[in-house]
């Protein structure tokens, strides 16, 4: 026989019983009531759930680092922490070059996940990553100048769209960063290409080629001469977007420069050069264009988070309606191996990190987000968002999808390959 609803003990009494705070007689009554009344049994089950849940939730609070001020009772303290941290960090850590490295790491990681699905030359890329790429591959890979306004508009829809945007928006943002010196290439760049035929040394981008690019872009009226001058290293990145098709369409003068550049490059130098120049180039290029591609044209499909120490990177990918994520640790330290991050992933990401001189990053890097968007005819752009000096900043770039053999693309696919090992084949 069920007990009438109004005779059932209230929730407080149930918790008191579950907490063992009732006397023996009342407890016995409750036990019998559970057997008699399904409704009461359900209430007890619900209360048990709340008891267990609250214990579980509270246990998460035990993993608390020291020196964290409570928000609820010291609302001003939070501001104080930020102010002090900000004041401590700003003067000694920020350089554009470091930001460039950080941004490039994230750009590469996110872009790799896109490129993998879109590029048919995965086998070739694997070969390149494994260090088995042929000399001829690298000759094609060697970054040089190949952009031309005509060929770009013929072969690359995004470039055409970009040009249209630039034309409509006027001069690009004046926030283009001054060109930092090229990042040093540690010897640790070797692991990405395990067996180079010759010692890897960074090679500067051919100045003559940059001049050609500058002239071409200036003729097209896309950017100011000052911006071109400040971003001369970016030319390799511009080239990387259109290298293969644009090379064929490039003027003879440019092709000759490109060939000469490739001939000068020793075996394996392609990767090394990309490591030394591409991070800087990518960031400068994207900064230059950040204001021009500010529109959100498509839903984001990826997100990258960087921990405060920038030693972890987490990529989230929406696939088949499900959110998948993987986390890896960057840096030289022996990262712990988990079920989700294989040693191969760590090895490659560590090599990538080393190659981009991530060790020189500032100790605290604000939260970064990265989003992938589709622009027009299915060409993705990347948008990196981060916070610096209390302001939200963003850089946007078109990827280098048209140059699948470019070292940076190879490197990106190495990351994607590592991600695939975790996530499984797309």
């Amino acid at each position: 026989m069920n007990t009438p609803h109004d005779e059932l003990p209230d929730e407080g009494m149930i918790h008191e019983w579950l907490d063992g705070q009732l006397d023996a007689d009342t407890s016995a009554h409750f036990e019998a009531l559970v057997l008699r009344s399904p409704e009461f049994a359900a209430r007890v089950a619900e209360a048990r759930g709340f008891v267990a849940a609250s214990s579980r939730i509270l246990s998460a609070l035990d993993d608390v680092p020291a020196g964290v001020l409570p928000r609820t009772e010291t609302p001003s303290a939070d501001t104080g922490v930020r102010a002090i941290v900000s004041a401590r960090i700003r003067p000694r850590t920020f350089t554009w070059q470091r930001w460039a490295s950080a941004a490039a790491v994230l750009l590469v990681a996110v872009t790799g996940t896109m490129l993998w699905q879109r590029t048919p030359e995965s086998d070739m890329m694997s070969a390149a990553v494994d260090g088995t790429a042929t000399r001829s591959d690298e000759a094609v890979v060697a970054p040089s100048v190949a952009i031309a306004s005509d060929s770009a508009s013929e072969t690359a829809a995004p470039e055409a769209m970009l040009a249209a945007r630039i034309a409509s928006d006027g001069a690009p943002s004046a926030t283009a960063a001054p060109r930092p010196s090229a990042a040093p290439v540690p010897a640790a760049s070797a692991p990405v290409a395990p067996a180079p035929a010759a010692p890897i040394a960074p090679t500067p981008i051919a100045p003559a080629a940059d001049a050609v690019l500058a002239a071409q872009v200036a003729r097209a009226g896309r950017v100011t001469a000052a911006e071109i001058a400040s971003a001369e290293v970016a030319s390799s990145e511009v080239a990387s977007k259109t290298a293969a098709p644009a090379r064929a369409a490039a003027p003879a003068e440019t092709r000759a420069l490109l060939d000469a550049d490739a001939a000068r490059a020793p075996a394996g130098a392609g990767l090394a050069r990309s490591f030394s120049t591409a991070p800087v180039a990518a960031t400068e290029l994207t900064t230059m264009r950040s204001d021009l591609l500010a529109d959100d044209l498509f839903v984001a499909v990826q997100r990258v988070e960087c921990t405060t120490q920038c030693r972890q990177i987490r990529v989230e990918i929406a696939r088949d309606g499900r959110l998948q994520r993987w986390t890896a640790t960057l840096g030289r330290s022996s990262a712990p191996e988990t079920a989700r991050v294989t040693p191969a992933v760590l090895s490659r990401l560590t090599a990538l990190s080393d190659s981009l001189a991530l060790e020189s990053l500032p100790p605290v890097v604000p939260l970064m987000g990265a989003q992938c968007r589709t622009v027009g005819s299915l060409r993705e752009s990347l948008r990196l968002e981060f916070r610096h000096d209390g302001r939200q900043r963003a850089v946007t770039a078109l990827p280098w999808c048209d140059a699948p053999q470019h070292p940076l693309a190879v490197m990106a696919r190495a990351v994607e390959q590592a991600a695939t090992e975790v996530l499984g084949a797309p």
Partner: protein, 171 residues
């Protein structure tokens, strides 16, 4: 009070855990616990020692929260130094940080009395002790705890759903 060693052995760990959960700062929790035991040392006798300790610690937290901005700034500076120095090595740190932040948000959303009662109960205080420590009727402890647990779980669940929804939107 010459029995402070026994008190310390019995109650230091649960008291620090209670305070850590309450404050979100282990250093601060240790300081408050230390001060609590110092005050216990000055007492001639304690009739209900556990509830006394938790009640004093709770009051010290309230008093400490009113202290000068300068002291907090000093703590903040120490915190900043610590954050600069420490490198989190574990790959699960992000997930743990998320859970911790949501738990903190959920517990902060509770009414003060509910939160304290729940934290004390989690440290094993019985209903009489909780009633004494919080100066509330013993008969209301069950109701207070049931409300606190329900709201904590519901709030945490809502935060989780919101987080998942944001992830999916972002994805």
């Amino acid at each position: 009070m010459d029995d402070v060693d026994r008190l310390f052995r019995l109650y230091h760990e649960p008291l620090v855990r209670y305070l850590t959960r309450r404050l979100g700062d282990r250093d601060w929790a240790e300081e408050i616990a230390q001060e609590t035991f110092l005050r216990a040392l000055r007492q001639e006798s304690l009739t209900s020692e556990r509830s006394w300790l938790f009640a004093v610690a709770t009051n010290l937290v309230r008093d400490d929260a009113r202290k000068s901005q300068r002291q907090r700034a000093r703590l903040a500076l120490l915190a900043a130094e610590e954050r600069d120095r420490v490198v989190e090595p574990e790959v699960t740190a992000l997930e743990r940080a998320e859970s911790r932040a949501m738990a903190r948000q959920a517990i902060d959303a509770l009414a003060e009395k509910d939160r304290l009662a729940l934290l004390m109960r989690e440290e094993g205080l019985d209903y009489d002790e909780i009633a004494a420590a919080l100066d509330i009727a013993r008969s209301s402890v069950g109701t207070t705890l049931s409300r606190a647990r329900r709201r904590l779980a519901e709030h945490y669940d809502a935060l989780e759903r919101r987080d998942e929804g944001r992830d999916h939107v972002a994805g």
